[in-house]
């Protein structure tokens, strides 16, 4: 396995904008240091897995990258711009489904597709139905998302995250409550998604390193708010 320091600038000359570039990012909550001087660079098209114990700062890192949380110190750039300028190109999926419990899967996705300016009514319905089918959910299901099983909720959440075809996909423990079969389906879906375009970048956190192996071209490990190692898999593109 080749261990590459991604912060080595000369290696990356001539390449397009990195998908994610953090420079000495720190985030404090009162006296608690969630992120401690994190510098990280993920090139466009990377597929990375973020490992670390609970409380290591993985979720905070994802939040800072997405722009939902501002760093206390340091800068964040997504494809060369602050994350707030990249709305629509970044998508997250986490413990929360980010869906309305009282709407059906289709209603939710049509709504969010509309928010992402994906076309007129008829087109939105088509897009929403496709998105649900891609995660093996029934587009005609009249049940509200609040009544879905845990596995269905996570698949619906993934469908929503992939809806706008984001170039940066951030996933916080996406397989945590899935059975092995569903987890493998989700991994296949993510691999397929990533391969559809060379600039699509994936970053996910998980406790199940073995399960996420296929997606782990880069493995980042965090401990107590700092990035302690970045490992590239040999033969990575």
């Amino acid at each position: 396995m080749k261990i590459a320091a991604l912060q080595d600038e000369s290696v990356l000359e001539g390449l397009p904008e990195p998908a994610v570039e953090l420079k000495r990012v720190s985030r404090l909550y009162g006296s608690f240091v969630a992120l401690r001087e994190v510098s990280l660079r993920l090139p466009a098209g990377a597929s990375a897995v973020l490992l670390g114990e609970n409380g290591a700062g993985k979720s905070t890192l994802l939040k800072v990258i997405s722009g939902l949380t501002a760093p206390s110190y340091g800068t964040v750039q997504i494809f060369g711009e602050p994350p707030q300028e990249q709305r629509g190109r970044i998508s997250t999926m986490g413990h929360a489904t980010m869906l309305y419990d009282d709407l059906t899967g289709m209603e939710n996705l049509i709504y969010f597709a509309g928010l992402n300016d994906m076309g007129e009514r008829a087109a939105l319905e088509h897009i929403a139905a496709e998105a649900l089918r891609a995660v093996n959910l029934d587009a005609a299901n009249p049940r509200r998302v609040g009544e879905y099983s845990q596995g269905m909720r996570q698949r619906a959440s993934l469908a929503r995250a992939l809806l706008a075809q984001p170039e940066l996909l951030l996933l916080d423990e996406p397989f945590s409550n899935l059975d092995v079969g569903s987890a493998h389906s989700m991994i296949d879906r993510l691999l397929a998604y990533g391969s559809e375009s060379p600039t699509r970048t994936l970053l996910l956190t998980t406790h199940q390193a073995a399960l996420a192996q296929p997606l782990a071209q880069t493995t980042i490990t965090m401990q107590a708010g700092s990035v302690v190692s970045v490992v590239e898999r040999a033969g990575a593109r």
């Binding site: 720190s26 404090l28 909550y29 009162g30 006296s31 608690f32 240091v33 401690r36 001087e37 114990e53 409380g55 206390s72 110190y73 401990q223 107590a224 708010g225 700092s226």
Partner: protein, 247 residues
């Protein structure tokens, strides 16, 4: 870092003390004039509370706009220049607190006046009601600051400050219309309908003195807030510098 600011702080303290001395001198002269101005025709000596009421109420309409200006500057600078944004926020909280202070004194002296002139502690006339609303608005601003989650205080209170500043003239107009429709005992009828020239010195000295005092208190509060901000920043850097603990 502490050493760099100590010299600046010392010289600022010097100017501050000088300003305070001047202010107290002006207030003393004002007090003298207030107590020696000729006795009022209808109210006797009880009217003298007016010399304290008037500057406080006028100034309580000035400080909110300093607060609004500082809040706008905070919102403008928070993306680009963090240090300036912090200063603006410190100024905003200081001016809001001084507003509440002056509005409180304005209300209290207003009530003393009403008691002296009319025998009642309160009258829902246009002026007193407006002072009350102003007081309520800026107390709600201070409450918002204390209830807000840390790190978001400055932004949310800046937004409220803008709303409050817009509201003040609307409040003023609406209450005046309300009272022209249903007249209540007019408070301080002697206030604009001509103050006897012999009372001008008392009015002016107190106006100047209390403005200077307001500036002093605002500056002091600003300095305290800036010190607190610097302490927080130093604490944050200290937490960041701590060695990682192995879990």
């Amino acid at each position: 870092m502490v050493n760099d600011t100590s010299k600046a702080t010392a010289s600022r303290s010097g100017w501050g003390l000088l300003w305070l001395a001047l202010t107290l001198a002006v207030l003393a002269v004002g007090f003298y004039h207030a107590m020696t101005a000729p006795t009022e025709a209808t109210m006797g000596n009880l009217y003298r509370v007016f010399f304290y009421h008037f500057p406080h109420t006028i100034l309580s309409f000035l400080f909110p706009y300093l607060n609004c200006g500082a809040s706008l500057l905070y919102l403008f600078w928070r993306g680009s220049s963090r240090e300036r944004a912090l200063k603006a926020d410190a100024f905003a909280v200081a001016s809001a607190e001084v507003t509440v202070l002056y509005a409180s004194v304005g209300l209290a002296t207003g009530m003393l006046w009403a008691r002296a002139a009319w025998g009642i502690w309160w009258t829902w006339d246009a002026r007193l009601t407006t002072y009350l609303l102003l007081w309520l608005l800026y107390v709600s601003y201070l409450l918002l600051r204390s209830f807000s989650a840390a790190g978001q205080t400055a932004v949310v209170s800046a937004v409220l400050a803008i709303f409050a500043a817009i509201d003040i003239p609307i409040c003023y107009m609406s209450i005046r219309w309300w009272r022209t429709q249903h007249p209540a005992p007019v408070f301080g009828g002697g206030a604009d309908s001509g103050i006897d020239p012999s009372m001008y010195p008392a009015v002016w000295w107190n106006l100047v003195g209390w403005t200077m005092w307001g500036a002093f208190v605002l500056g002091l509060r600003y300095a305290i807030e800036r010190r607190r901000q610097r302490q927080d920043a130093a604490d944050a850097l200290a937490y960041l510098g701590e060695p990682q603990e192995a879990r």
